[in-house]
Symmetry: C2
Subunit: 226 residues, 2 copies
Amino acid sequence: MYSLLNMCSIDATDDRTALARIRDAAVVRFGEVGFSETTVRDIAAAAGVSAGLVLHHFGSKAGLREACDDYVVAEFARSRIEAVESGEIDPFAAMASVQAEQHLMRYFLQSLRESSPAASRLFAASFEETLRLMELSVEQGVIRPSDNLHDVTAVLLAWQFGGMLLQEHVARVMGVGTDVAEMMPRYARASLEVLTHGVFADTRYEDAWREFAASGAPPPTEEDPA
Amino acid sequence: MYSLLNMCSIDATDDRTALARIRDAAVVRFGEVGFSETTVRDIAAAAGVSAGLVLHHFGSKAGLREACDDYVVAEFARSRIEAVESGEIDPFAAMASVQAEQHLMRYFLQSLRESSPAASRLFAASFEETLRLMELSVEQGVIRPSDNLHDVTAVLLAWQFGGMLLQEHVARVMGVGTDVAEMMPRYARASLEVLTHGVFADTRYEDAWREFAASGAPPPTEEDPA
DNA sequence: ACCTCGGCTGAACAGGTGTATAGTCTACTG
DNA sequence: CAGTAGACTATACACCTGTTCAGCCGAGGT
């Protein structure tokens, strides 16, 4: 019904609908520089259409964002479903496949920066899936059992995405470039070390906290002495 | 200490100079909603002056940002020096004192979101100090020795700040409010558990990675299976 | 007294923003 | 073939942005 020829200037071989081109361009721009730094005219130019058409299809810039949110959420869900159907269990491979679609991940990370509604949806969805993965890994003896697996998973997820958000700063203090190939070996080794052995030499801090929590007093300190 | 945000009508007892009021208001606004979402007129109104005066004192909005950056960096440094001079060693207390000046921390976190130049400076400074603290803690037997303490510190710092950045999302999946009093017990318990015992049941992932790194092949996966 | 200088203001300017509107063209339908 | 619907464009509009500018005012020096 709405299949039109696309005459426009972007690429003669681009057979995507103008609407799809707008949406894709918006996902890229929003992911790269953020929502408020992106102009409707930018997106229109990148999609090879006029600014008016963007509003014609999506109503407003906010409507375009919502459409992008829905699209990215759906794409993530689709890629996860594919991964599950292919019988993927290995958590390493799981993360690798998430990393695969870079522009989606960029959009997600940018959403986290801006605390957009999509970020909450994606974080929550990622949490549910990770929690299932953690439970499975505990059964398989890969992950140490915990009577607090729910919160532990939430913290680990925050650390993981938080680490991605601060990638640039980690790379700088490590003295390497921000590209994955250069940074990942260092980051992976350090994080694996912490996630395997912890950082504290004994349980004194954990004990101190447990004792404190049991006393019912308002806790006096921040989270961890990293 | 000194009065915080007094929006339109400045308190008659406010003896700060107009320049200081502008700078303080800018730090608050930049920290709350970010640089590009804050207008010069907003800041001027919050400081009780005209928009022209802001530019008169700081040249431009960018100049104001630089001044705020310098101010916040200096304030952080000052508070850290005070902490060191008071003989503070306990990492818990260290983090608590950092948390104390909330508007400075908010400014820093917002800078991290926006990857502003100040964020790099503050992250690097925080890293240097944390690294010294870690070395000291290793000597005291509190932190487990590591032949990779530099990178481990970088990762832990990224996780800590990253966790703060994603505070809202962690709270949501934990089912608690975002305020510190409600969230911190849960967050502290989970992070202490991980930092004390790790999450992996054995060293298989660490071994696999070491083996892989030794082979010299390009690594195939992402950082951790959180 | 006069003068000067810097803090300070109000209005104006130039550019960019999201958005509304009028109109063109093409494809489909009766 | 008329006619309608919708994709699409160009233009204009209203608003907001950072910034500029001419000038006011009070304090301090001579």
